[in-house]
């Protein structure tokens, strides 16, 4: 995990050295005056040889120092941390809802395997999963905001809303009102994976001997499904949850753009379009850290939840 982090950060260092205009453009803004420019060059050691620059860069990353944003003028660290909270509030809500719903629906579909109902259900799931999430977002906005005028067009809060604390901000009805459409859109997309996984696992579990035993004992279908089959089928869904969060963090940028949600991904896009490289770099680093951490967590969870993995490993 540490190796991954290290390599990714190194790749980033070299990528951002290659931006149009060279490393100077990546770190100094054209709008700076000469003295400030010199100071920044000194700060980043741009007049030093490459290996020294690299060491300095690494040292800065370890200290979480990503420099100042050209556009906002504030430190990248606090900016990115703020946007990160916004992204997570949207994503975690959507994930919790879609994994609950998806697991339930997947178990149901697996149980009625082979029926026409199941086939139609699977086709619908496939189509929904094939729909680009930003397009779903546009259609949802068209229906609920433009035509029916029920929900706001985007953003995270209304004009008049002010909050004294962060907790208050995330618990207010105004926030939930703005959260509804993006979460709904995300759920249509995310629900597919747990659903398919749960169905496939259930099919596998249902062919196990202990299910036959349960049947022979005369247990009701419902009891077999809930107590015996679903419990064993749910393991991979749990790991998928962790991995999918890691992957989804990067994909959030689409939904955040559609709903003008002030999140990490959208900030990264805006920063790239504005050539605000410190912000783009900081945001990307944080995104990678989340992906790598979640992959790691998934590995850990897997061996914790399924003792068979641990035994084979040792």
């Amino acid at each position: 995990m540490v190796l991954s982090l290290f390599t990714v950060i190194t790749i980033l260092f070299f990528l951002f050295r290659m931006v149009p205009g060279g490393p100077m453009a990546a770190i100094t803004s054209p709008r700076m005056n000469e003295a400030a420019r010199q100071a920044v060059i000194e700060d980043y050691g741009l007049n030093e040889p490459l290996w020294k620059q690299y060491l300095l860069y690494m040292w800065n990353v370890v200290q979480l120092n990503f420099g100042q944003s050209f556009y906002y003028g504030e430190s990248v660290r606090s900016l990115v941390a703020d946007r990160f909270l916004n992204t997570m509030s949207l994503m975690v809500t959507a994930f919790l809802i879609s994994y609950t719903v998806g697991t339930y629906l997947g178990a149901q579909l697996g149980w009625i395997r082979g029926t026409t109902k199941e086939r139609v259900g699977m086709l619908i799931v496939l189509i929904i999963r094939s729909t680009p999430v930003f397009w779903t977002g546009m259609i949802v906005l068209y229906l609920f905001s433009f035509q029916l005028d029920l929900f706001p067009l985007g953003g995270m809060r209304g004009m008049q809303a002010t909050y004294s604390t962060t907790t208050q901000k995330f618990l207010s009805t105004d926030f939930l009102y703005h959260l509804a459409l993006p979460v709904f859109t995300l759920c249509t997309f995310y629900v597919g994976l747990p659903l398919l996984l749960m169905r496939n696992n259930l099919l596998e579990v249902l062919s196990e001997d202990y299910i036959d035993t349960a049947r022979a004992k005369g247990l009701t279908d419902r009891r077999i499904l809930l107590k015996h089959a679903a419990r064993n089928a749910i393991l991979p869904v749990v790991t998928a949850f962790a991995i999918a969060i890691g992957f989804a963090v990067g994909g959030q940028v689409l939904i955040e753009t559609v709903y003008s949600w002030p999140g990490l991904g959208r900030e990264m896009v805006k920063a790239s379009l504005r050539s605000d490289y410190p912000v783009a770099q900081g945001a990307f680093t944080l995104l990678s850290v989340i992906v790598i951490t979640m992959n790691f967590v998934a590995d850990l969870m897997y061996s914790y939840l399924d003792p068979r993995v641990r035994l084979e490993g040792s």
């Binding site: 190796l3 991954s4 982090l5 390599t7 990714v8 790749i11 980033l12 990528l15 951002f16 290659m18 931006v19 149009p20 082979g114 086709l123 496939l126 189509i127 999963r129 094939s130 729909t131 680009p132 930003f134 397009w135 546009m138 259609i139 906005l141 068209y142 905001s145 433009f146 890691g246 992957f247 963090v249 990067g250 994909g251 940028v253 689409l254 753009t257 559609v258 991904g265 990264m268 896009v269 790239s272 379009l273 050539s275 783009a280 945001a283 990307f284 995104l287 990678s288 992906v291 790598i292 992959n295």
Partner: protein
């Protein structure tokens, strides 16, 4: 060169030729067999039909488009024909800059199919090669390849492509580069674990005992057995690649001079015209959905070929 070595060389040459001929025969036979199973699944055939339809559209688009993609259209009174709802002259209406939506949609299929098929091809080639090499050699080769896979898993796809495009410039090739760099990972992992079991099979041992080169064993004895798996992942990658390209274009990192479905949606979104001009928004999005669904269906149909347990009795 002495006569002796020449004869040996010739014999080797003939053997290799036979080897490849057998390889192609095997491939042909298994393709026909697999085709039969595939055709039995109605959904898979429907998926294939969608894909073929859009490939045809992509090939024919330049000859059948009614207008140039960025040709400005005027009303009878000389004003711009912007945001016109569908009429007989413009079956899908016009955009805010008075361009014909149908023409852009037709031409947009070219980029989508190009990226989809090329992306899938690269994913299959790269993933299969690394998977076979890692699985067959094992040891440090395997270790190195799998560590590289682990590291690349840590790069989130869309942000990574944004960085690539920022650094290298907005072009379809950079999006394909991103796909080639990051989408082969799962394919390689799956192929590798398959090869791990294949290489213990008696016929591989027999080939080794007979003195076949590693290259030959991988090509003639292992590759045919993993081709179904790579084809499955390639089918899924068609969908991934198309969505990836459209997403990047939607975020404003596409090449705006080439009409594509993503760029169409981006224009409709940025101008906020999507609140009224449904005729501009529905066609490109629906096309993406259809093509990707088609690719998934083909993949699922093929999965039944690969994994007989899934076949419905």
């Amino acid at each position: 060169m002495s006569e002796e070595t020449a004869r040996v060389g010739e014999r080797r040459h003939r053997e290799t030729k036979q080897g490849w001929r057998r390889f192609i025969q095997n491939l042909k036979r298994s393709t026909i067999e697999q085709g039969r199973i595939f055709v039995r699944s109605k959904m898979a055939v429907a998926g294939l039909a969608i894909i073929v339809f859009y490939i045809l559209m992509a090939l024919l688009a330049p000859y059948i488009v009614p207008y140039a993609p960025y040709e400005r259209l005027y009303m009878a009174d000389g004003s711009w024909a912007s945001l016109q709802p569908p009429t007989a002259a413009h079956p899908l209406g016009t955009t805010d800059s008075a361009h014909d939506v149908l023409s852009q949609l037709l031409l947009g299929s070219r980029i989508a199919m190009f990226v989809g098929l090329l992306g899938a091809f690269m994913v299959a080639i790269i993933g299969t090669t690394f998977g076979i090499v890692a699985g067959y050699y094992g040891g440090w080769v395997d270790e190195v390849i799998m560590r590289v896979v682990d590291v690349l898993y840590g790069l989130p796809f869309i942000p990574f492509v944004i960085v690539l495009v920022t650094v290298l410039g907005a072009s379809v090739w950079n999006i394909i580069l991103g796909i080639a760099l990051l989408y082969w990972l799962s394919t390689a992992r799956v192929i590798r674990s398959e090869v791990l079991t294949l290489r213990e099979r008696p016929y591989v041992e027999a080939a080794q005992a007979a003195g076949a080169s590693d290259f030959r064993i991988m090509g003639v004895h292992i590759l045919p057995n993993v081709i179904p798996l790579s084809a499955l992942y390639a089918a899924i990658a068609v969908g991934y690649s198309i969505v990836a390209q459209a997403s990047i274009a939607f975020l404003g990192f596409g090449d705006p001079t080439i009409p594509s479905w993503g760029v169409m949606l981006q224009r409709a979104f940025v101008t906020q015209a999507f609140g009224t001009a449904w005729w501009w928004v529905i066609p490109p999005g629906l096309s993406i959905t259809l093509v990707v669904t088609g690719a998934y269906l083909v993949g699922r149909g093929y999965e039944e070929v690969v994994n007989p347990q899934l076949q419905e009795k």
